[in-house]
């Protein structure tokens, strides 16, 4: 599969009449000093999907989100959100959006209920619906019993959940989450991811998420774009992207005669050693049972089988030419924790 250009994988977007949530063309942001923060990127987010924007620090993810949410004006390019031009009608676009910034942005001096109430008012949520939705959201996000406590007494995970609960009150068509799980403990992180998924599934909210946690992106995103140095290196579904870096490797330990050829639909033999066989294949999980059947049919005894699959990290290494496991993620986690601490005075 050819995946060397940005447009390569999965851009059959509007062919089948699916509406586009976001359409970005030639988007550029440059500051007076330094290189371009975002350098002429183009991508589409389909309605109803979870779209991930991945990349290391300084890749341009946050700047891209700020431009789509109309917080920063692009230097060049165009942005359409559900067909509305974000540069011409920023207020109309903001009415459709929810935004959870990287730093915790709840107001610690208000109660959980009040936080939701104020921002529901600012989004002009129908007053008749407002109170019911707020109570439902607090209930669903497990915050109902703390609704009347000041938010500064909440834990970091609760603050994050409160921010995401806002989306349930305002019902945006498109929700932006900038590093939503950074700085959270594993349990809170799982809860947050679970809630994001529910918003997408139960309310059809289109979600655009930035993260540099590859496992999280793999778990959550229907499609993702990998950004580096202000450009998009590659776009595609996680599965397709992983395939593009080489597919799965099955290692079989066998006793008895080892064949030197297998049917082509099972894959190709990548290595043959004393009692082990390495096979390169597209879909390892499905190939394993048929492969063992075949080998045993040839008179061998299969002793063990192991499967190794490429991760998004491998994809990232291939397309962005850098690893994500740098000190950057540590630094951002620390600043996120500091932001939580600042709210919890």
């Amino acid at each position: 599969m050819n995946v060397t250009t940005t447009e390569a994988i999965g851009t059959r977007s509007s062919e089948n009449g699916m509406p586009l949530a976001v359409q970005v063309t030639g988007l550029t942001k440059s500051y007076s000093k330094g290189p371009k923060a975002v350098d002429s990127i183009s991508f589409e987010v389909r309605a109803g999907e979870v779209f991930g924007l991945l990349g290391p620090n300084g890749a341009g993810k946050t700047t891209t989100i700020k431009m789509i949410t109309t917080l920063t004006r692009p230097t060049a390019g165009s942005i359409q959100v559900f067909g509305v031009d974000a540069l011409l009608l920023p207020q109309e676009v903001r009415q459709m959006l929810g935004f959870v910034p990287q730093a915790i942005s709840v107001d610690g001096d208000l109660t959980g209920y009040e936080n939701l109430l104020i921002f529901a008012k600012l989004f002009f949520v129908d007053p008749a619906e407002r109170s019911k939705r707020i109570h439902e959201a607090l209930e669903l996000f497990g915050l109902a019993d703390r609704a009347d406590d000041l938010v500064k007494h909440y834990s970091g995970g609760m603050m994050r959940r409160l921010e995401i609960a806002q989306a349930l009150v305002n019902r945006p068509k498109l929700l932006f989450l900038d590093e939503p799980s950074i700085g959270l403990d594993p349990h809170s992180r799982m809860q947050v991811i679970d809630h994001i998924r529910r918003l997408n599934r139960d309310f059809g909210t289109t979600i655009l998420i930035t993260t540099h946690d590859m496992a999280e992106a793999d778990e959550l995103c229907d499609r993702l774009a990998i950004m580096n140095l202000g450009k998009i290196a590659v776009i595609g579904a996680p599965r397709e992207l992983k395939k593009s870096v080489g597919g799965d490797v099955i290692t079989v330990a066998v006793r008895g005669p080892i064949t030197d050829s297998i049917p082509p639909d099972l894959g190709t033999i990548a290595g043959r050693d004393q009692g082990t066989l390495k096979i390169l294949t597209v879909d390892g999980e499905r190939a394993i049972p048929r492969l063992t059947d075949y080998l045993e049919g040839e008179g061998a005894v299969v002793e063990s089988v192991s499967l190794s699959r490429p991760t998004l990290d491998d994809v990232f290494m291939k397309f962005a030419k850098v690893s994500l496991q740098d000190e950057g993620s540590f630094r951002e986690a620390r600043s996120a924790r500091r932001s939580i601490a600042r709210h919890a005075r």
């Binding site: 207020q91 910034p101 915790i104 107001d107 009040e114």
Partner: protein
């Protein structure tokens, strides 16, 4: 809802947000009563020892009476000028980004915050009236005058909150805002008719005082609280109104610089 209704509704919501915070913790409001109390009780009392004619204050009034409107204006100025710090703080904790990502027009954020400063200003007004009653400073308690005083106080608080937010959009950090807050408030105070008549000032200071919005505010407050001479009132309110509108527009235009 049309755009104007939305703007008004959003501004009121943002003011409501502040009012709710004050309700949760009103310590700051009470602390802010200390300084005006000192001015009236100590400064006022000591200077009352000087002959009123030497101070060139209008005859028939004590010095404490004379400075009461000035002290009110000064305490409102202190409340309002630090709104820029609040907004920088809100930028730092991500709240401003969130406010600006709502469909509310930018001007609503500024007007809402300015209104909130007005609400705090009203509390300062109530404190001064209470203090005046307690220490026996005779002020005019005519209902229309009192309403007028609160109106001017709200407008004045909005004016300087907008100035402060404009400065914050340019200066961008809390430390600088602390500095500029100090650098602005005292000169404005001393170059005004708050604690002494303009006629006592050297000519250059009189010149400055003529361009100082605080002088117009004190003049309006003094007319309503003390003298009942409304001749200067229309000009006072016009100057205040125009300054407020200009500064609110400046702040609305510049505010987004804070998050870039």
């Amino acid at each position: 809802m049309n755009n104007l209704q939305r703007s008004v509704s959003s501004a009121l919501t943002i003011a409501e947000m502040e009012a709710r915070k004050i309700r949760h913790d009103s310590t700051e409001l009470w602390m802010r009563a200390i300084q005006p109390a000192l001015w009236l009780l100590i400064f006022g009392t000591v200077f009352s020892a000087i002959r009123a004619s030497a101070l060139q204050i209008p005859s028939g009034f004590t010095y404490t009476q004379y400075i009461a409107p000035g002290v009110l204006a000064q305490s409102v100025l202190f409340v309002a000028i630090f709104y820029g710090i609040t907004i920088v703080w809100e930028r730092d904790v991500g709240l401003l980004t969130k406010l600006l990502s709502t469909p509310s027009p930018r001007i609503s954020v500024v007007v809402g915050k300015a209104l909130a400063a007005g609400v705090r200003g009203i509390f300062q007004g109530i404190m001064i009236f209470a203090l005046a009653l307690i220490i026996g400073v005779n002020l005019r308690f005519d209902p229309l005058d009192v309403a007028g005083v609160f109106l001017v106080v709200v407008l004045f608080a909005m004016c300087f909150a907008a100035l402060s937010m404009t400065l914050a959009s340019v200066l961008k950090t809390r430390d600088r805002m602390m500095g500029i807050g100090q650098a602005i408030t005292m000169p404005l105070f001393f170059a005004s008719n708050a604690i002494y008549p303009v006629s006592l000032m050297p000519p250059f200071l009189q010149e400055i005082s003529a361009y100082n919005p605080l002088s117009y505010v004190v003049d309006a407050l003094r007319a309503m609280l003390l003298t009942g001479d409304y001749s200067g009132l229309p000009l006072d309110i016009l100057v205040l109104l125009v300054t407020t509108i200009v500064l609110i527009l400046c702040a609305s235009f510049l505010l987004k610089k804070l998050i870039e």
